[in-house]
Assembly symmetry: C2
Homo-oligomer: 357 residues x 2
């Protein structure tokens, strides 16, 4: 495996996870939660997976001002925290972190990994990171895709083309295109073809290469993150951040860079064979092995019951039920309706309960 | 209408209501709960319905030692409280209260009405009580049955025979027999025949007549309640109660008196046309007009949601659901499974959580 001493990790920690209400809230986002009940939040598990590869001083977490203290509390060894004054989607977050890295080392590789995904199989994950770093060093924007295990309609897909032929990256292939979440028939075709991976939002690229793409494709955004980064290690940091950040284009890295660059032949995908999920909803939570609160009584019933406040729950006569209880709220639904849970925070807002979103 | 100055009301306040878990508990029985959300418990509503007929000093409440303070708190005007050292079913409770009344006035009429039933239509209820008192004065054991509105399989039935012909009791008919909860086909026959009422456990009888029946049918029970009553207004009350109560036969008034006396032609039934329910389970609670906690979010869903701790509940994609939440517990079921809720306290006991029964 290749040496990773030029790799910096960027962890964008944003998004509240509205389909996991009431466990997740705007004030208590998914990445800060111990959703699997094993004593570490998703953010902490992300740290545990990545920090050993690069050391504590090369992990950069980007989060919103509302969650900065939560992140600091959960990651006491974290030294690189970028606090966003307001949410501008993933490209400004990753772009700024990359610009800050490039400010001191333009040849560094940056790898971006979401704060709220689950990975099972660390060895295979690390092997994929190594291949992606090799591809990134060649000047490509690399992504680690996930080899699909089912015809999921919940994820976007990446279609792979020819092998890159890079030494040290035997499984890396050119990206032909990114596609949005498909319908079931299309997802089944994708699964059968063997050429498609799930888009897990893991991008690995030389910082300078990413910024060059940005300069071309999103010039004002590029200039903005460069300007903030230029003052990052000076006394002007906060002032420049406050002035420039609100002007940055709100856009996801997929749309800003990945899709256009893939069509130009500038991307590679490394298929990951490790277990992965973004735990988008309660159905996914079941799939990654979450179990009901011990002592839950099921009578002619089954499903996932999470009593966050450790109270006694009993379910009678319902199959595939999902129950999530916190001290101040309660959700009752079924696995089949897991995606519609996002309508609950919206309904609460409509009836004036922004406090419960 | 007849004068009611000879009437005493007996309210047996027992039973925990296991099919209404977790709202009802052994420590918080159904009769102490404000199940309809109108600010008065079922016991208080029973008081509100009966006290105006007889005055506060002729309402006798019989309850277990665990609930005496709850009863006193809810009924500050109550002066006649009989505290049972242990539960012995309804005949000892009603028999003792009747014996205490007879101790001072053997010609008094006693009327027994459960503490945890719902009555809608006070005028019709009062008219039925008047007829029952007239029938009781003639020496009969009168019962107020409920004219069925549906072929319920949840209640026992009373079959009526010939009219009694008593002046002042135009609708009173002889009781032919009591029958246990029927199957649906039988319940439909009963409903179609017009001769059957639901047994609501409302018995009205001269105290001396009731005690004479007891002396014949349950002589040791009769002697026991007479002995306790004889010392009721003396300093020996507690000592006699403690010595005799545990020896009383554990039996319901239906089996001890109503069934045998009905077969001897000694009972009359007054059909009640008022609304009535014993709120045996959550399905019944819906029928008597209980509504979901305000603010509950239903998305592609409906049912009854009771958030006893006033938290936010959301239900997504379930029909006819029943959700009952308290500070320490939660039930999720459907209306169709309402009867099986009684299995929950049993399951909790089996897993060592007697505290949550």
């Amino acid at each position: 495996m290749t040496d990773l001493s030029d790799l910096h990790v960027i962890v964008p920690a944003g998004g509240s996870g509205t389909r996991l209400w009431p466990l997740s809230r705007q004030s208590r986002p998914k990445f800060l939660l111990d959703l699997l009940g094993d004593g570490r939040s998703l953010l902490q598990q992300t740290w545990d997976r990545l920090e050993p590869l690069v050391g504590p001083d090369r992990v950069h977490v980007v989060t919103g001002v509302a969650h900065a203290s939560g992140v600091r509390e959960q990651l006491p060894a974290l030294t690189r925290l970028v606090v966003e004054p307001s949410p501008r989607d993933s490209m400004p977050a990753i772009g700024l972190a990359a610009a800050i890295v490039a400010q001191r080392d333009p040849d560094a590789i940056v790898g971006s990994f979401a704060a709220d995904h689950v990975v099972r199989g660390d060895g295979e994950f690390v092997a994929a990171v190594h291949e992606a770093v090799v591809a990134a060093r060649s000047g490509l924007v690399a992504t680690i895709g996930i080899s699909p295990t089912a015809p999921s309609t919940a994820f976007g897909y990446i279609e792979a083309g020819e092998a890159t032929g890079l030494e040290g990256a035997p499984t890396a292939r050119a990206v032909r295109r990114f596609v949005e979440k498909p319908d079931l028939a299309t997802a089944e075709e994708y699964l059968a073809s063997g050429a498609f991976s799930w888009n897990a939002g893991m991008f690995v690229v030389r910082a300078g290469v990413l910024l060059d793409h940005l300069a071309r494709l999103q010039p004002t955004l590029h200039d903005g993150v460069r300007a903030i980064a230029a003052d990052w290690y000076s006394s002007e940091r906060d002032q420049t951040m406050a002035a420039v950040w609100p002007t940055l284009t709100k856009i996801a890295i997929d749309h800003a860079v990945a899709e256009p660059v893939s069509l130009e032949g500038g991307m590679a995908v490394v298929p990951g064979t490790f277990g992965w999920d973004d735990i988008g909803d309660f159905a996914a939570l079941t799939q990654v092995g979450a179990t009901s609160t011990p002592g839950t009584v099921f009578i002619d019933a089954d499903g996932l019951v999470i009593a966050g406040d450790d109270t006694q729950v009993a379910v009678v006569g319902l199959r595939d039920v999902v129950v999530a209880r916190t001290a101040d709220a309660l959700l009752v639904t079924t696995r089949a309706h897991a995606q519609r849970v996002k309508e609950v925070p919206a309904a609460l807002l409509a009836q004036g309960r922004a406090d419960l979103q």
